[in-house]
């Protein structure tokens, strides 16, 4: 397992343009991504079209998140009180190191050195598996895709389908080679049929589920009024983790709190249709503290800050915390489709990663993270797809300005240099450029030419003191129309 994933950005990640350039050379990756994103994209449109009040639901979702963010301190205190009253224990972790230390101590207190894990962005963000390994604790990922990635000592490339960069034959080879080293081996004569591969994963993991004493999960939501925590999933490994072990440790970003249990009626409509494009995902588990005689008899909820309170301080960047990690914005993103998740060098890839990553690590503190807001054509597709209406294009432009400010003292205008490189990668051939133009996403916005013009509309809040990368007028209009704002 690689030990270099720390704190959102993978250390040593090349800047987006360099990584993207590498990814573009990889024909297999491009084919897989294209197939995957197109398939999910079409399905999602159909799932969303079934609800004629989709826009109303999106609005309610964004308003609920807005309410939470403006009163996050109060909601976290309410959540702590409810979870505690229901028999759970709440821990507060300021950063990745604090969170992983709490988890490691809790695991050791149970007298075990093994945990089963259900996929979670938060635990990936804090590099939990690596930190536990350093403490002599083995964490086994139990989502099929995460298992593939973990067995192959690889990095995920998509929030929802982390092994999207692997085809079935590669997966079969990984299973044959690695399963035996980590537990129940792959059966003889393993084929590359998805059904057969899934069966091998079931057998490999079941043995681990049945003997696990401690499980670690993330959370999709936690309701402040009742203390109810929810995990939304497909495979049943989440149910295994939150049901079978004696102790459950849930690591949750502080932004995941919801005001009330009834708010689930909004998010259980928005999330499955946006995420896997289903009317409902196969399994959703809701639990409140500890239930005597049913499931884990010890429950720990770790509330993770790790850059979130700092993100909250930027009024124009704040709403990046509304994200419910559905991955719809990834699947509609023309840049993501070409370059894949790993080019972003972050736990959070795609459009949301481009706005969340630099804010979590702090603008100006990582050349890599600073290059991410330029990894976009500002075509607006991500906003249209986002179930909680996060205005990613506007936020990207805002963050570009912040990056420019942060690098004002640099001898070379680094952001612009990065942007130019990024433009070459994404629009490196006339065909690609033409395609981008058709999408209403002209390269001029990426190239970021310094100009003194004022931006109308969503950009009007900027101060005159800032030199922001201003797009060519035509492309801005095209983007404006495309984005369909009032």
């Amino acid at each position: 397992m690689s030990g270099e994933k720390v704190n959102v950005v993978w250390l040593g990640s090349p800047t987006f343009p360099n990584a993207a350039h590498e990814a573009l050379q990889d024909a297999q990756l491009r084919r897989n991504l294209k197939h995957a994103t197109t398939t999910i994209r079409d399905k999602r449109l159909r799932a969303v079209a079934e609800l004629d009040d989709w826009e109303t639901l999106r609005l309610a979702g964004s308003q609920i998140k807005d309410r939470v963010m403006r009163h996050l301190d109060e909601y976290l205190l309410r959540l702590e009180a409810s979870v505690t009253a229901a028999g759970g224990v709440v821990h507060w972790a300021e950063d990745a190191a604090a969170a992983t230390r709490i988890v490691a101590d809790l695991v050791r207190a149970q007298g075990t050195d093994e945990v089963v894990k259900v996929k979670s962005m938060a635990t990936q963000e804090i590099g939990l598996n690596e930190a536990l390994a350093a403490d002599g604790i083995t964490a086994t990922e139990t989502d099929l895709a995460e298992l593939i990635v973990q067995l192959d000592d690889d990095r995920p490339s998509h929030i929802l389908v982390p092994a999207i960069h692997r085809n079935r034959t590669e997966i079969r080879d990984i299973f044959r080679r690695e399963m035996g080293k980590n537990g129940v081996p792959a059966p003889d004569g393993l084929t590359d049929e998805p059904r057969v591969l899934a069966e091998a994963a079931r057998r490999h993991l079941r043995e681990k589920f049945l003997r696990a004493k401690v499980a670690v999960s993330g959370a999709n939501f936690a309701c402040a009024d009742t203390g109810t925590v929810g995990v939304v999933e497909s495979e049943g490994n989440g149910r295994m983790c939150v049901t079978l072990p004696e102790t459950l440790i849930t690591v949750m970003g502080i932004e995941k709190v919801l005001p009330s249990f009834t708010d689930l009626e909004v998010f259980l409509q928005l999330l499955p249709r946006s995420s896997t494009a289903e009317r409902m995902n196969p399994y959703t588990s809701l639990w409140t503290g500890v239930t005597p005689g049913d499931g884990p008899q010890e429950f720990h909820l770790i509330l993770l800050d790790n850059g979130r309170s700092a993100t909250l301080a930027d009024r124009e960047g704040r709403s990046a915390l509304h994200c419910i990690r559905c991955s719809a914005c990834l699947n509609v993103c023309p840049v993501y489709e070409r370059t894949g998740g790993r080019s972003y060098g972050s736990v959070y890839p795609g459009p949301i990663g481009a706005v969340l990553t630099p804010q979590l690590v702090g603008v100006g503190s990582s050349e890599h993270a600073d290059s991410l807001p330029f990894a976009s054509t500002l075509c607006g597709a991500c906003f249209d797809a986002c179930p909680v209406r996060i205005d990613i294009p506007e936020m990207l432009v805002h963050l570009r300005a912040k990056v420019v400010d942060a690098h004002r003292q640099d001898r070379l205008p680094k952001p612009e240099a990065l942007a130019m490189k990024g433009a070459r990668v994404v629009f490196g051939s006339p065909r690609r450029l033409a395609l981008a133009e058709k999408l209403g996403a002209l390269g001029g916005r990426v190239a970021g030419i310094r100009g003194g013009r004022w931006l109308p509309g969503p950009a009007r809040k900027w101060t005159a003191a800032r030199d922001v990368p201003v797009p060519a007028r035509e492309s801005f209009r095209a983007w404006w129309r495309k984005a369909g704002r009032p």
Binding site: A36, L51, D52, T56, L57, Q63, H71, L72, D73, E74, Y75, V89, A93, A98, I102, D105, D143, P162, A163, N167, I171, P194, A198, E199, A201, L205, R206, F209, L210, T226, T228, S234, G236, N237, R239, T243, L244, F261, L264, E265, Q269, P272, E278, R279, M280, N281, P282, Y283, S285, L286, W287, T288, G293, D294, G295, L303, S309, A310, L312, A313
Partner: protein
Amino acid sequence: MTNPEAKDRILARIRSALRDVPGEERPEDVAVTRDYRDSHVSADIVDLFVGRVEDYRATVTRVPEGQQVPAEIARILAERGVANLVVPPGFPEEWLAGYEGARLTDDPPLTAAELDASDGVVTLAAQGIALTGTIVLDAGPGQGRRALSLVPDLHLCVVRSSQVLPDVPPAVRALVPHRPTTFISGPSATSDIELDRVEGVHGPRTLEVLLVVDS
């Protein structure tokens, strides 16, 4: 192991980040417009429920209240080769009249290994959601603790038609928050390998729904 200083520092950082929020603003002052639909369903909800559950490739059998219920349960279990059935406390005895195989009761609690070695489980449900084809379990009578409907490879779930609600909002409002609750929409599935949907990774690979029409 709770760390009061970390808590204070996080809360202080949040409060300083939110300086722009007026001090007198209450959470409830932030408008949330809830004019989304309570239900998207106008058709017959039971028909819709059956169709939507079948869309997930689960098997649904519709049966009127009465003698046919135990007969259908026995038929399904026999067809699926169930000879070792987990029966949660509170499952109606008369509905198992036609089943002749062995029963595993949860008293004393079955171990995970015993559940794993069983052939299947039969449960009641708390509710059904028509629009999404969802079955909701809340560990109430006849449903058992969560592990019972999770570890066995076959889940036969008996839902009464009067339990079927039209859509997600009424279903959420009818839930009892503190009960451990599981929404089940079709059998366990993954699309992780080249986005091919494959049934059955960790949960029961077979989901049989028996809909008892009682109204």
